[in-house]
């Protein structure tokens, strides 16, 4: 089993399987790149409408092929039908959103359900037609790498590569439009055309992925990699790179694993692999990851507790808060019984002085102080410029002895 998996991963399980695995990896990379722009434009679920809307296009193409040639399963024609229907769906969503009073999420839902409903009606027609190759349509619903023909796998691999390169070619323009449409328009970029290009790339990658991932799950390859990549960076270029890497890894591992066991649905395995990568990013990414955020929060809590504890000592009150007691004892500022030590008393005095300066700042410059994130959470010398601190110090002294 493991040896078998290794052969797939090393692209050593036959030419056909190798092309499928490479195709899935390229597809994942393309989905990651294109999906980044979708996520930044807050359009993640538009791809859900796109993918479901491909069904009537596929079914119509199948019916036409079956009537004309007697053989319905010809992937490139089915994909063309899918792309046509998907494009119509994108335009419908835009029309509803721009021309009627209905919001975008309703537009997406309407188009998704109506197109897919039409697709199921057409599928019931196909079932009655009893022509050859009708079993060939179910694999587009759920995806199957194992059942792919060599030509189909090559088609997926090349088309994914083309879409990825096209997205990278217009990287700067698409990124600009995604971040700041008005600025892009002012700079003279054709925003409407670039928007259309973005939609076209989204439609393309969705349609290309159908035979491997299936139309129910295809949106995962344009949503999960960018969302996962977002945890690692705030900048566009690294985000696109990381999303492409995560997508490629998910496609590669998923296609290899599902190649080993024929009854594992490829789309499901790829999406689960992507989900695992997403969870890893969510937990362990530096700065934005849950773990990093938790540690930061804990540090903040401790710093606040320490300050409040010291202020209590300065006022001559006992330190009651458990977290503060723990922290101050660690520092050697409280004895085991909770009495302040000499170093503790001098630290308390320093903090009380610091707090007085912070309070003065809040009173004299309330606008600045309210906008500040660091108010009274660090020594004031570290947060404010030295001349301002000196001025606050003078004012505090004057208030203490007016003479």
């Amino acid at each position: 089993m493991l040896a078998e998996l290794w052969r797939y991963l090393a692209l050593d399980a036959g030419y056909n399987a190798a092309v499928v695995v490479i195709g899935a990896a390229l597809l994942g990379a393309g989905g990651g790149v294109v999906g980044c722009f979708g996520l930044l434009r807050k359009r993640s679920l538009l791809s859900d409408a796109v993918s479901h809307a491909t069904l009537p296009g596929i079914a119509l193409a199948f019916i036409a092929l079956a009537l004309l040639t007697g053989q319905g399963r010809q992937l490139h024609w089915l994909m063309l039908g899918a792309a046509g229907a998907a494009l119509l769906a994108v335009l419908s969503v835009a029309w509803i959103k721009n021309r009627t009073r209905l919001p975008e999420d309703s537009a997406i839902g309407t188009v998704l359900a109506t197109f897919f409903g039409l697709g199921t009606v057409l599928l019931s027609v196909i079932q009655v037609m009893r022509t050859g190759g009708q079993a060939g349509l179910e694999y587009l619903l759920l995806g199957s790498a194992a059942g792919m023909l060599l030509g189909e796998a090559q088609l997926v691999a090349t088309a994914s590569l083309v879409v990825t390169l096209a997205a990278l070619l217009f990287l700067k323009e698409l990124g600009l439009v995604a971040f700041d449409q008005d600025y892009a328009r002012a700079m003279g970029y054709p925003v409407a055309s670039l928007d259309l290009l973005m939609m076209a790339l989204l439609v393309a990658i969705t349609v290309i992925g159908l035979p491997i991932v299936g139309l129910v799950l295809i949106i995962a390859i344009v949503i999960i990699p960018p969302v996962a990549a977002r945890f690692w960076t705030d900048r566009l270029l690294p985000m696109i790179g990381i999303a492409a890497f995560i997508g490629a890894l998910g496609g590669y591992l998923g296609a290899a694993v599902s190649g080993v066991r024929a009854n594992l649905p490829t789309g499901g395995i790829i999406v689960l692999t992507l989900t695992a990568l997403f969870v890893l990013s969510l937990l362990f990414a530096p700065r934005r990851g849950v773990l990093a955020q938790g540690i930061r929060y804990l540090r903040f809590r401790l710093a606040i507790a320490e300050r409040q504890g010291l202020l209590a000592i300065a006022r001559g009150q006992p330190v009651l808060e458990p977290l503060a007691r723990l922290r101050l004892k660690r520092r050697g500022w409280l004895t085991a019984t909770g009495q302040p030590t000499t170093t503790g008393l001098s630290a308390a005095e320093r903090t009380a002085r610091d707090q007085a300066l912070w309070d003065r700042w809040l009173e004299d410059y309330p606008n600045d102080a309210f906008g500040s994130e660091s108010w009274a959470s660090a020594p004031i010398e570290q947060a404010l410029p030295a001349d301002l601190v000196a001025e606050l110090d003078r004012r505090v002294r004057r208030a203490e002895n007016p003479a």
Binding site: L102, S106, G109, I223
Partner: protein, 318 residues
């Protein structure tokens, strides 16, 4: 077509479709106004892993364990979406996309691995529904509609869905004022002590209930269509929420009945020996109704507005 045939074969799917359309359509009014339309989409996708787990845990294909599993999955999905949204600081669409594809994929793999597929569950069924599979064989004539013995043989799924639909309708009527206020002005609702968060949670809970109860009969796609299309149709026609809710009910029933007619009777009248997928056809009808409203609604329709602009003199004193 005799009365017995109609009662046995056509009435059950018509009833099921109508009840599902009403349950989802009534709730849809609030989802559309709150920009939560796609919650119905997400929840109807996670039903699949729910029924698979329900089957694996209980070992039976009875409806109760599966419905419990689906309900639990919907609950887990709602919590996960909120968790991912907050932890990742994401827009809700992206959070939904991550959660429901992950759960659907999990359900799919579990289904294939456990062999549950051979028993009863099948993905196409979950997506497209099996309206036509529901029949009332005990019916012989119109009199059976009042005959307790014959009524006892009405499929359980019909009673279940009718009960859920009634519950939803009653709750919406009972809490209409609270729902209206918390939908349009959550701040004021909070100030008046209506607890808008609680109402919001209740709404999501009812959405999950409707999605779970309806999917078995009509499939997830019709569920999504009915959550959105009737409410959107009604929204095009009126500004008053109470009127909108009534109109959406009319649109839902109309879509279900005309959808069934188009799927089953239309091919018969055309002399074709085939029946189209009824759930899909109902979804298409709901979409066509909405399209008509979007184009021709008296005040907000796209064509009506264009026409009014072309004849500015007709503008009523604005």
């Amino acid at each position: 077509m005799t009365a017995a045939e109609f009662l046995q074969i056509d009435l059950p799917p018509m009833l099921l479709g109508t009840a599902a359309a009403l349950a989802c359509g009534l709730l849809g009014n609030f989802l559309v106004l709150r920009r939560q339309s796609l919650m119905g989409d997400a929840l109807s996708h996670v039903v699949l892993p729910g029924i698979v787990v329900g089957f694996l845990v209980s070992g039976s294909t009875g409806s109760l364990p599966m419905l419990l599993g689906a309900g639990a999955a919907a609950l887990v999905a709602v919590l996960l979406i909120e968790l991912v949204r907050r932890l990742g600081n994401l827009e809700s669409g992206a959070a939904m996309g991550v959660v429901f594809t992950a759960m659907f994929a999990g359900g799919l793999v579990l289904l294939e691995q456990s062999g549950a597929r051979n028993v009863h569950i099948d993905v196409q069924h979950a997506l497209m529904g099996n309206l036509e599979g529901t029949v009332w064989l005990a019916a012989d004539g119109w009199a059976d509609l009042l005959d307790p013995a014959a009524l006892a043989a009405v499929p359980e799924s019909i009673w279940r869905l009718l009960a859920v639909t009634t519950l939803i309708a009653v709750l919406i009527l009972a809490f209409f004022k609270e729902l209206r206020l918390s939908t349009f002005d959550p701040g004021l609702a909070h100030g008046l002590g209506f607890r808008p968060q609680l109402l919001g949670a209740g709404l999501v809970g009812l959405t999950a209930l409707a999605a779970v109860a309806a999917f078995d009969a009509v499939g997830s796609i019709l569920v999504i269509a009915m959550f959105i299309c009737p409410a959107a149709t009604a929204r095009m026609l009126t500004d008053d929420l109470a009127t909108q809710v009534w109109l959406s009910a009319v649109a839902a029933v109309l879509a279900a009945l005309s959808g069934y007619a188009a799927a089953v009777f239309l091919p018969l009248w055309l002399g074709l020996d085939l029946a189209l997928n009824a759930a899909g056809s109902m979804a298409v009808m709901a979409g066509l109704l909405q399209l008509t409203a979007m184009l021709l609604a008296p005040r907000y329709g796209v064509l009506t507005r264009r026409l009014r602009r072309a004849m500015p003199n007709q503008e009523p004193g604005l």
